[in-house]
Amino acid sequence: MKEFTVRFDLGDKAVQVPSGTLLSEAAQLAGIDVNQPCGGQGRCGRCAVQILDGTVRRRSTLRLTTEDVALGYALACQTVVEGDVDVHVPAQEKIERRLTTDLTVAEVRVPSDYLFSADQSIRRVKLNLSEPNMDDQTDDLSRLLTALRQQVGLAPVTVSLATLRKLGGILREGQWEVTALLDTGTEVGEDLQPARLIDLLPGLVADIEPIWGAAIDIGTTTVTVWLVDLVSGQVRAQASEYNGQISRGEDVISRIVYAGKNSGDEELRQLVLATINSLIERVSQRAGEQAQDLSGRTVKAVVAGNSTMIHLLLGIPAASIRLSPFITAVNQPPLLTAQEVGIDIHPEATVDCLPGIASYVGADITAGVHASGMDLSEKITLFMDVGTNGEIVLGSEEWLVACACSAGPAFEGAGVANGMRATRGAIEEVWINNNDLEPNYRVIGGAKPAGICGSGLISLLAEMFITGIIDKAGNFNLHLETPRIREGAQGPEYVLAWKDETQTGKDIAITRVDVDNLLRTKGAIYAGYNVLAESVGVSMEMIEQMLIGGSFGKYINIEKAIQIGLLPDLPWDHFQFLGNTSVRGAYYALLDRKSRERITEIASKMTYIELSADNRFYDAFMSALFLPHTDLSKFPSVNGMFAG
């Protein structure tokens, strides 16, 4: 048999191998470690190498684009040597970036047309006041208001008592030169609110000095705050944390029930305020400012969140949300001040809660729709926000329908034995070797694992299913030969990381209960968007783009999400992963009045559809409680994998 030389650029090694040898075997022979998380099955695409020169035959090019192949990329585990070859072994992360299935969160960019002076409701104006004297006996406030009217054309302007109290001092301290911060009004619902003086600073503040605003998303499970410089429009810091209310119930229903008893409402309000305020402190620090100073200089906050969260934040009784016919107390709260709400920023800061449309489709969704841009698109778009409640919107520029299904917090890492948020130490990706069922995982931050985040759970579930650790109904196969499948306290489980490799010193395992939980979550979401589409007569094939929001992690592996039947089996380029769309929408609304108006418009044109009104949802849900789905024909690509 003919022998050929395979040369690797890594460490400049070369080996002689017979014709037909796999590149992965050649690499091993050369002592080069080519990563093969899926066990050399040609499934994961992680072993891609680049053929610089020579003849090879690719048995499979799964996951490589034609462009990749043209550039010489080949899967080491699926490619055999048929001549002398020069091989480049790329760095692992480079490969991963090439993979078409991994969608990372779309970047946050300042809208290119953002102009502080034109788009922002907050204005900073420098005023030169004439000094009073014995002839000019005008009082301080009138003097200020006159200057505002004459110098910047703002009238009427409302002023709070707190500002009045310090007014005289500041005017004199600045020697009649002052900088005023005003909210010039936001159209909320039908009314344009009058301009309001938020703060007055002595002296003339330079135009480039930042003015801070906060975009806040209150999720049932996770709260997120972005600190934004309203002048440049840039996001200067982001932070998120589990909602402090979680300990009082995992879902909105439990929270509402809790709020209804023994002043539980006040307790919940304080809990979420504590979370928000600690996040504000954290983003302030990250932005390099003293917390005290910066939060005092944050003059506007826009809040998105589901209707229950907004009610609880504002201390408005939420009981009617839960009870048929499911009516909110308010869909569009008026503009408030930080002091009224209890947020630790400038007490006079404007707090703008975005509008919701129904009990179970709140401001998080109107904000999300805006962030996704679907309301301006000609394409039929499906947008879903995978949170504790799965909210789904379907439509285009012409019409929008929305629904909600209670998915549970599993994909946010909550309610699963070893789940965690997508932060440092979370396993975010898993591959399992078909042959020995040994796992291979990647941890956020490269640390020792402490748990599994949403995207990790999705890929773990898919891998367990594909390798036969669980059957299509989620039952563990206890007949397999591996110590990793065992009977745990909660029934059968699979050990993903042994205790000596973890941060916690405990095994990280996924149990039968977790699997059921994940199945329910993905089933509810799948059923949700299918029934929604069906109810307006749209079939899955008609959907031209699918936008996904949610806090699974930094990225989502589309292929894995399809394999478990969370996402429909559409071409991968139909999907876009937007991450937390709610806070993104709040951010746009924080910056730009036009965005804010668009959200109002979205809220008025979106039609809410109640899924529980008939049995269709139940039926669709039952059929989705299976991997990937009871109707195999809906997932031809997953099916093909088993056939092949």
């Binding site: 229903i253 029930v257 449309i357 019409w399 209670s406 307006v536 749209v538 039609t607 529980s612």
Partner: protein, 440 residues
């Protein structure tokens, strides 16, 4: 063809002005598609759209209703071949037949007994709908007398059975003013006179033929005479023939919008088995020969079951159900009145062989979790049901078991039910036997 919500939406003004009482035009369109609102609620629809929408919503099977003093039986208006596709709307009327050759006493006795008959099924009172008087005598006077007898014994709607127009005419004259009966019926030879009689007496008319083409011909001709309320009779005793006839007639009406067969079907089943088939397979009027409670009861129940809206499952009567002869030591299990929930819980308890009191709470027909989420199944309601029963005096120790899905309610329920030991049971019904055996 019925239009989808989006299709209807395209015919609406799309201004979201909210005047129809819905937040958006699309919301209104979807209600229209579900036939839950009237188009007239929107003041801005164009004439053109009104015409298009009217056409799409005409019922493919005519609604025929038989009326008499205080009673009405409706058949038709059906829109599907299989009940899961939507629902079967109008329960077939169950009619008991008497023959005019029987003695007046016998006729009266049979009708009175059937007229009085009431049976309770899951809290619903079921009765027969009316009577068919068959002219076996060939004598108009006898027939007329029988009809009068029937009217004395019952006010329910009547079907007059004879092919002889003079007999039918006598029967119609014996009816009370203002009622609409069904004439059974018209065939090739008598249809013209029968149509005239139906017209004159505002009666409905059944056409009788074993083949569909003749039936279609007859309905067309009779409609030509201005009689619209028709029914068709497959005129067969065979199960197979009836099934085929009924299925094709229904399919022609629904799928081809074939008006000549778009009428309710009337069937005279030869026995209980044929009556069973008639109820599940598309009959609008079912005429049975005998009045026997052991047959009428299951037939009424079957009719109730088949005509249950599959989108809105039936509820069971709230209250205490005794399973496996519970004694004072048996536990009280709590569940909701959603029928599937009830049946699965009751089945499992029954299968376990262990005695229990099953407390079914009124949760407006929702399953445990849905009801809890909607606030229809909370500690207060459960406590009220328990207190409203006499269980406290019947059991000791006083143990009440909550479904596992609402474990959160246990604390509150303890407060609401002092003296009761509140336990949390399994989440799924299948685990109940194990729970009863091991945990109690």
């Amino acid at each position: 063809m019925a239009l989808s919500g989006i299709q209807i939406y395209k015919l609406l003004p799309q201004t979201n002005c909210k005047e129809c009482g819905f937040p958006t035009c699309l919301a209104f369109a979807m209600k229209l598609a579900a036939k839950q609102v009237e188009l007239s609620a929107c003041p801005y629809v164009t004439e053109e759209s009104i015409a298009l929408l009217a056409e799409s919503s005409a019922p493919p099977i005519r609604l025929v209703s038989l009326k008499s003093d205080g009673y009405e039986t409706k058949a038709g208006n059906e829109v599907v071949l299989f009940r899961h596709e939507k629902t079967f709307y109008n329960k077939p009327g169950l009619f008991v037949k008497v023959v005019d050759t029987e003695s007046p006493e016998a006729i009266k006795a049979k009708i009175s007994a059937a007229d009085r008959y009431v049976v309770n099924y899951v809290g619903i009172e079921l009765t027969v709908d009316g009577f068919a008087i068959e002219a076996a005598s060939g004598d108009p006077e006898k027939f007329s007398a029988a009809v009068k007898l029937a009217r004395e014994a019952s006010k329910r709607p009547l079907i007059l059975v004879s092919r002889d127009p003079s007999i039918i005419s006598a029967g119609l004259k014996a009816l009370e003013a203002g009622e609409s009966a069904l004439i059974h019926g018209a065939d090739k030879s008598n249809w013209e006179v029968m149509a005239a009689l139906a017209q004159e007496h505002k009666a409905a008319l059944a056409v009788i033929s074993t083949d569909l083409e003749t039936s279609a011909d007859l309905t067309e001709k009779i409609r030509g005479k201005g009689v619209e309320d028709l029914a068709i009779d497959p005129d067969t005793t065979g199960l197979g023939a009836m099934l085929t006839f009924n299925t094709i007639a229904r399919r022609m009406a629904l799928k081809k919008n074939f008006k000549p067969l778009g009428f309710p079907i009337i069937v005279f089943p030869k026995d209980l088995v044929a009556a069973t088939q008639a109820i599940s397979k598309y009959a609008g009027f079912v005429v049975i020969d005998d009045f026997k409670p052991d047959e009428v009861y299951p037939l009424l129940v079957l009719r109730q079951n088949i005509y249950t809206d599959p989108q809105k499952p039936i509820q069971v009567q709230p209250g205490v159900y005794e399973i496996n002869n519970p004694n004072s030591e048996a536990p009280v299990l709590v569940t909701t009145n959603f029928s599937i929930t009830y049946f699965s819980v009751a089945n499992e308890v029954e299968g376990s062989g262990l005695p229990a009191w099953l407390m079914v709470c009124d949760a407006e027909g929702m399953s445990v979790l849905t009801a809890w989420a909607a606030g229809k199944f909370d500690a207060e309601r459960i406590a009220k049901s328990v207190k409203g029963s006499d269980l406290a005096s019947k059991v000791s120790p006083k143990r009440v078991v909550l479904p596992g899905h609402v474990a959160v309610l246990s604390g509150e329920l303890e407060e609401e039910l002092p003296g009761w030991d509140v336990r949390v049971g399994p989440r799924e019904a299948v685990d109940i036997p194990k729970f009863l055996k091991e945990a109690l």
